[in-house]
């Protein structure tokens, strides 16, 4: 090989490495695709802060918005709490249920959060972390939109906005239920 070829070939070997780095640095490291989207949502049986049973089985046929939160998750959880409450109030009569799961939290702090935001949708702690792991949760807030057939359709990482809530719920409501 000639000297001239070597002069070009050596720097050229850096090109694939630089391309890979450029590609990698442009990705959002928190944006990990969930293998659960499209699959049936895992069943769970929790007890809400009020002492009432909170299960997914009982809600088959409804659109379920399952939100994982924590009182220490500031500001994202504080931003979305009023959004979820408003969504619950305006869609509950149309077959939409909002459920909150408080993870990695102190019981008192969780109750205070619910009081502070006057949350009226069911909320339960997940003391063993089993529900969090079953849903592949790796941080808060994360929200799962479950269709009327009980399948996870959307996983939303970070605070739910008014638009995300409305658009996703409307799409799922427009689909036929488990019998249709």
């Amino acid at each position: 090989m000639t000297r001239r070829a070597w002069r070009w070939l050596l720097p050229l070997t850096a090109v694939p490495v630089l391309t890979l780095l450029a590609y990698g640095f442009r990705l959002n490291p928190r944006d990990v695709p969930s293998p659960l989207v499209g699959r049936p949502a895992a069943a769970f049986a929790l007890t809400s802060f009020d002492g009432a049973p909170m299960t997914l089985e009982a809600l088959r046929g409804k659109v379920v918005v399952l939100n994982f939160w924590a009182s220490w998750c500031y500001p994202a959880c504080y931003e979305e709490a009023p959004v979820l409450e408003r969504g619950w109030r305006s869609y509950r009569d149309r077959g939409v249920v909002v459920l909150g799961v408080d993870i990695q939290d102190k019981d008192d702090a969780g109750r205070k959060f619910i009081r502070d935001f006057s949350l009226t949708f069911p909320n339960a702690p997940d003391p063993s972390g089993k529900v969090s792991v079953d849903y592949g949760v790796y941080g808060v807030p994360e929200t799962f939109f479950i269709d009327r057939r009980g399948r996870i359709r959307v996983k939303h990482v970070s605070a739910v906005t008014e638009q995300v809530f409305r658009d996703t719920v409307e799409t799922l409501l427009a689909e036929p239920g488990p019998d249709g």
Binding site: M1, P33, S34, Q104, G129, K130, V133, Y135, G136
Partner: protein
Amino acid sequence: MHASAARVVAPTTLILLLLSGCPPSAQQPSRPIDDRQVHEVAADLRCVVCQNLSVADSPSEMAAQMRAIVRERLAAGETPAQVRQYFVERYGDWILLAPPRRGFTLVVWVAPLVAVLVGLGVFTLLVRRWTSRQRTAPPPVDPAMSERIRRELEREP
């Protein structure tokens, strides 16, 4: 004979049950799991709330809960591979600290080997070139030039 045998067996069973940490009224059959077995699986799993820490090494609450889940599933009779698969099904391959040696992530395992081989090849080529250049005979010396050098050296004080 039977009575004495029963007297020996009963305390032994009780001690064994106490040692195994398994109450006699346990609903499902579970086997005792030591910390080493839990550590083995947890060390392969990425702590989901940390930066570059395994579930075995992280002091976070989430990691402690995941270790408890690992212990519970092993105790229920699952193999370490099945427990790993349980987490992979929920988090994807992302949960494994070592990427699997198949598909696209195989590149991560193969690329360093390829790079070393290519490097060795380039190195060998270069060394061969340098040594072959030394082996060639020096160009013939012009007698006039060597005479001139000799004269100039003699002139030096």
